[in-house]
């Protein structure tokens, strides 16, 4: 069943007299529970593509469908409601709220989506335990290591059990150990049926996915089916977990 479909997606910027075609006619389909990696060099438009899919940016032209509903024409408030309930984001720079505790960073989106205080607290505790940071629930994000912060960011993205997790270079700022931890988590999530679109420039990370799209100059130049993150021509999840 198709969860997300993007058709002829364009995002052009004008810089002075030059038109930059950050995304230049990308077609993309993500099935429910599928893990798609988008790989390419810096500046190829992969992060812009992710921002378009999550409504953080607006396409110049093209269509975005979530389930069967066309969503690219939604207003800002409509996209906000979608992100609140159906789309989770993980960023390279974690983007946690510095002056909220770890627990409050997780609870805020749940409360925003209408969960009661008890429900959001229970869900946050459950996720923090699963992510191995239950003991750090009451500290500020600045007290955590990079890997721990990214785990908090993943927990926050999962609080409302989104249909789609969009991850923008989630391991880009992490050392190899933390990268391994984060990839284990993403692998477990995928195994549990979570649909993920992950953007990376790292081939080792990209090959965890079911399908790998290679983007260059705003266009998909290659698409490879990888086999569910269990086999990778470069480095599989198993390899990573053993490192």
């Amino acid at each position: 069943m198709t969860l997300l479909r993007a058709v002829a997606l364009h995002r052009h910027f004008t810089v002075g007299d030059t038109v930059v075609r950050a995304v230049d006619g990308i077609d993309l389909t993500v099935e429910a529970g599928e893990f798609v990696s988008v790989m390419g060099p810096s500046g190829c438009g992969k992060s812009t593509l992710l921002h378009l899919l999550g409504g953080l940016d607006r396409p110049t032209s093209g269509e975005i469908h979530l389930d069967d509903e066309r969503v690219d024409g939604l207003k800002e408030a409509g996209w906000a409601r979608l992100r609140r309930r159906r789309i989770g984001f993980v960023f390279q720079a974690y983007n946690l709220i510095d002056d909220l505790s770890v627990r409050d960073n997780l609870e805020l989106p749940a409360v925003l989506a209408g969960a009661s205080a008890q429900q959001s607290r229970a869900r946050a505790a459950e996720l923090l335990d699963q992510l191995g940071i239950g003991a750090r629930a009451d500290v500020a994000p600045a007290h955590l290591s990079g890997g721990e912060r990214q785990r908090v960011a993943i927990g926050r993205a999962l609080m409302n059990r989104p249909d789609l997790l969009l991850a923008d270079e989630p391991t880009g700022a992490l050392d190899s150990r933390a990268t391994s931890e984060v990839l284990q988590i993403l692998g477990r999530l995928h195994a549990g049926g979570q649909a993920i679109v992950l953007v990376t420039h790292d081939p080792r990370v990209a090959t965890l996915a079911d399908r790998l799209l290679t983007v260059r100059d705003g266009q998909v130049v290659d698409e490879t089916r990888l086999g569910g993150g269990t086999a990778s021509p470069v480095l599989g999840l198993g390899d990573l977990l053993e490192r």
């Binding site: 992060s47 812009t48 921002h51 999550g54 953080l56 940016d57 800002e76 408030a77 906000a80 409601r81 992100r83 609140r84 309930r85 984001f89 960023f91 390279q92 720079a93 983007n95 946690l96 709220i97 510095d98 002056d99 909220l100 505790s101 627990r103 409050d104 609870e107 805020l108 989106p109 409360v111 925003l112 989506a113 009661s116 205080a117 008890q118 959001s120 607290r121 009451d138 500290v139 500020a140 994000p141 600045a142 007290h143 926050r156 993205a157 409302n160 270079e169 880009g172 700022a173």
Partner: protein, 580 residues
């Protein structure tokens, strides 16, 4: 190094044009407030002495109904200059149904000592110039016609004179014309002759004593000055207080704005250190940048204030019975002070990012207010409001203080209004008890002169306070750009974020209002006691009005805070979330 500094400065200003423009606008407001305060101070300082200088006033007046030997008076030892004989004819003057006693003074062309200073219109043969307080009481303007002994004559000017403390302190009122017209209009009425003397030593008691013993009716300038100043003390205290408040507000705005701007740039400042700038160079760069912005803003603000503030100073001077203060280069000193203050304040604010460790070692403590809101099961927006109020103490303090200042002056104005109303009712009761006559209005029995000034000043102060709220809001959005983008990414709509920002400001405004009320009551009581010598007759603002001030302050703050909040949808979420 200088070349590098200039390049960095130019690039910083070019890159953050909107922020620089905001700073210039707010600094212009600061400059305008500062210039207005200086103009007001100059109007309030030595009002009688200014009018005395403008009229080349006499230190000693000798008056008599018979002939006065002006030559003998001028020859007295210690007399430096004499007006010669100046003759006034006493009669009645009518205008617009009002009748009042008048001393019509014949002013010789060559009169130098105690010559009334025309502040509106001009001298014209055959026309009269009215003394300003008398003209105001009768409602006479330049171009009107007044009636005296059944002859009508045009009023060609309004003048200031320090011969008396002014109408109605001294009756009859005074009008001036050429000696021939005075004689013709007077038609044989009683004549009063005066000789004004300027003394070599203004406080020469011997001359005064001799003139009093030999010629009888003697008035000294120092006695007139004391009476005039006593009558205008209320104005003086109120205006002086407001000028100090305006200066305080201007300084407050400067500190708030520059502090907030530098906080929003702390990351960039750290990067400049990473590329090799020493803390001293960084502080110098920031100081020069803000001095440049302050110079631009100060010039704009001073130019604006010279139009609006000058009118204010003229009105204030008129209320004090004086001439308008002379504008000199000291007004430009405001720009200089602003430049130096901006450099100093920004340098002080830059010390922290300039000297802090390059890697954060003291992370922020989590907001307990937000945690409590979440635990209590409050909606997410309420949790955001709690965060808004509790996490940026400097921003919160700026809003609280700005509102407290505006509320304080509003409460003082309400107290003044209540007191004037009370005095007005008492005056009306007295008038009913003692058969009213169709005489001229007694200036300021009902505060008609003081009221507009106080409201004007209160409005100016409130504008400064509101400008701070807008500036703090805009800088706050810039400072929290990434955080707002994060909240947007997890599902908050722009409307929810704007609503939380506005609600947070309203909560702070409520707190500011609660602080401002007792401050305003205290300020009014103090100003009243200083102006009147005691608190007798003082009436505080009605409690209902005071209670209404807080929600009103919250409402106005909410409306004003909505301006910066309305820019939230324009925060580029994707760009703000990109790794730095």
């Amino acid at each position: 190094m200088v070349r590098l500094a200039v390049r960095l400065l130019a690039s910083r200003l070019r890159r953050s044009r909107a922020s620089a423009l905001l700073v210039v606008v707010v600094l212009a407001t600061t400059g305008a407030a500062g210039t207005s305060a200086v103009l007001l101070r100059s109007a309030v300082t030595g009002p009688w002495d200014r009018a005395f200088a403008a009229t080349h006033g006499a230190h000693l007046h000798v008056a008599g109904f018979g002939g006065l030997d002006a030559g003998a008076l001028a020859a007295l030892p210690g007399v430096a200059e004499s007006s010669g004989r100046v003759v006034a004819t006493v009669g009645e003057l009518r205008h617009d149904g009002l009748t009042a006693g008048v001393a019509l003074v014949g002013i010789p062309d060559d009169l130098r000592v105690d010559r009334p200073a025309v502040v509106d219109g001009s001298w014209r043969p055959g026309a009269v110039v009215m003394e300003r307080s008398f003209a105001r009481a009768l409602g006479v303007k330049v171009g009107d016609r007044v009636e005296m002994h059944e002859a009508t004559v045009e009023v060609s000017g309004i003048a200031v004179s320090v011969r008396t403390p002014g109408y109605p302190a001294t009756v009859p009122g005074r009008a001036f014309t050429d000696p021939a017209t005075a004689a013709a209009l007077g038609r044989g009425g009683p004549q009063l002759t005066t000789v004004g003397l300027r003394l070599a030593r203004p406080a020469d008691e011997a001359v005064v004593a001799r003139a009093a013993s030999e010629y009888g009716m003697v008035t000294t300038a120092s006695a007139i000055r004391a009476e005039a100043l006593d009558r205008t003390r209320q104005f003086q205290v109120v205006l002086a207080s407001f000028s100090i408040l305006l200066l305080t507000a201007a300084a407050f705005l400067l500190v708030v704005l520059l502090g907030a701007r530098l906080r929003s740039q702390s990351r960039e400042l750290v990067i400049l250190r990473l590329i090799g700038l020493t803390p001293g160079q960084l502080i110098g760069l920031v100081a020069v940048e803000h001095a440049v912005l302050a110079g631009a803003g100060g010039l704009v603000g001073t130019a604006v204030a010279l139009v609006g503030g000058r009118r204010l100073a003229e009105t204030a001077a008129t209320s004090l019975g004086s001439t308008a203060p002379r504008l000199d280069l000291s007004v430009l000193g405001v720009v200089g002070v602003l430049v130096v203050a901006a450099a100093a304040v920004s340098a002080a604010a830059a010390r922290r990012p300039a000297r802090a460790g390059l890697v954060a070692t003291t992370p922020a403590r989590p907001s307990t207010a937000t945690a409590r809101a979440l635990t209590a099961g409050l909606p997410a927006s309420a949790a955001l409001v709690a965060k808004e109020v509790s996490t940026s103490r400097a921003r919160a303090a700026a809003t609280v203080l700005a509102v407290a200042l505006a509320v304080m002056t509003s409460v003082a104005a309400l107290g003044m209004e209540a007191t004037f109303r009370h005095e007005g009712r008492q005056a009306a009761a007295r008038a009913v008890a003692s058969a009213p006559v169709a005489g001229p209005a007694v200036a300021d029995a009902d505060g008609s002169g003081l009221r507009p000034l106080v409201y004007w000043l209160q409005g100016a102060l409130s504008l400064v306070a509101l400008a701070s709220i807008v500036a703090v809001g805009l800088v706050g959005i810039r400072e929290r750009r990434r955080e707002l983008a994060v909240l947007s990414a997890i599902g908050f709509s722009a409307r929810q974020l704007a609503g939380a920002a506005v609600a947070g400001q309203c909560v702070l405004a409520g707190l500011g209002g609660l602080i401002g009320i007792p401050l305003g009551v205290g300020f009014f009581r103090l100003a009243y006691a200083l102006a009147n010598g005691s608190s007798a007759g003082l009436v505080d603002a009605p409690p209902l009005h005071l209670v209404a001030v807080v929600p009103l302050a919250m409402l106005v703050t909410g409306l004003v805070a909505a301006l910066p909040a309305s820019t939230l949808p324009r925060v580029p979420v994707a760009a703000a979330l990109a790794p730095a």
